[in-house]
Symmetry: C2
Subunit: 203 residues, 2 copies
DNA sequence: CGACTTGAGTACCGAGCGGTACAGAAATGG
DNA sequence: CCATTTCTGTACCGCTCGGTACTCAAGTCG
């Protein structure tokens, strides 16, 4: 049975982790195959054999990023109250955006915002993956409204979008070199806008 | 006296406006000289004669953008109260990010977030220009604190940063195709976090 | 041991990049 | 008129891009 042919000489997951860092720091367009393969420690051809092409490598890298570097988002959704979910998410996000051992900011934001040479395929892909996170949060908040954990009449989609906006704005700031403390100060203020169950805010 | 030599065959400002759109939509790296000069309706050489090189053209384009497309920001600073300043800024910003006759989003965000082939010079330049706006807002808010227009103890820099974070997050959303209404809904929520003079919020 | 299968390495492809040399065109100054 | 100055247009530069053809190395099968 075993593997036929010459065995692969490198660890795919480890190589992917290196690729994540390069895409994260330099963006999709800014990361050349030479940059990527040098960081991954493998040959150009090996990369094509293992991942297909640059775009597929990027998809794999984003998936890996979502799984490893954004695990905090899934954990936040498990918090008992809507406020705790949002607070946990924004706090962990601020930390993740400023980890000293990782590039500043967020791969799914600085990976590519504008249409590059690919007519926006990369930007659209990243936008969709961010939107998926927003929807997941909105569903969690909708449950909170049902449970009376958020004031009746609260729009869970709007609140989820607001939370993502704060997260993405912080990502832009982090990419520009803002400190972790600065991001948390912003979260302090942003949390003031989150409705609490006992304080009916709407008109 | 008059102009010596052959007169220029195109309007520099008009050409610059076209360049702004291309950079805005495609980002700095994604906008090729061919894309730019075709949109500007001029020859490659004419562009070099008039602007120097691609990077200098970009600087001119950003300056033009700040002057024309971000005029609302300066106008917002003239509002009488801190709350009115912030509200005016965020409302006009949401509109500007979704103008039907212009690219979605904000040039100074999607122009370049990650380091491209230029080791981050473009990203740093844009970050600095965004920071300049943040400082201007912070100064205006500092005045508001002195005037009792914001609660004593309010950190004007932190509040300015929060406002810019919302603005930049909305820019990311707009670039991803969010509607104008969605952006305004986010502003509705974001404004809840802005302290008012009569409502002391801090502990 | 070969026959076969698969990864690794080199060397290269056409295309597009930013930038420029050079010749010609259109104006002013004498 | 011609010399000078400046802009325009073509045609090209060297370089890097993403991607690949081809050869060799390293394994499993029989």
């Amino acid at each position: 049975m075993a593997v036929r042919g010459r065995p692969r000489g490198f660890d795919v997951e480890a190589a992917l982790d290196r690729a994540v860092e390069v895409f994260w720091r330099q963006g999709y367009d800014g990361a050349s195959l030479t940059d990527l393969t040098e960081a991954m420690g493998i040959n150009r051809t090996s990369m094509y054999a293992a991942f297909g092409n640059k775009e597929q490598l990027f998809h794999r890298a984003v998936a890996r990023y979502a799984e490893a570097d954004m695990a905090y988002a899934r954990e936040a959704l498990a918090e008992p109250t809507a406020y705790a979910v949002i607070q946990s998410f924004l706090r962990a996000n601020a930390d993740a955006l400023t980890r000293p051992d990782r590039p500043s900011g967020c791969l799914s934001v600085q990976g590519g915002l504008a249409e590059g040479g690919d007519s926006g395929r990369i930007a659209r892909f990243l936008a969709d993956s961010r939107l998926a996170g927003e929807h997941a949060l909105a569903q969690r908040l909708a449950r909170a409204v049902e449970e009376g954990d958020l004031p009746a009449g609260t729009d869970p989609h709007a609140l989820a979008r607001y939370v993502m906006v704060v997260s993405e704005g912080n990502a832009v700031h982090a990419a520009a070199g803002a400190t972790r403390a600065a991001l948390h100060t912003t979260v302090d203020i942003a949390l003031q806008a989150v409705p609490r169950p006992h304080a009916q805010v709407s008109a």
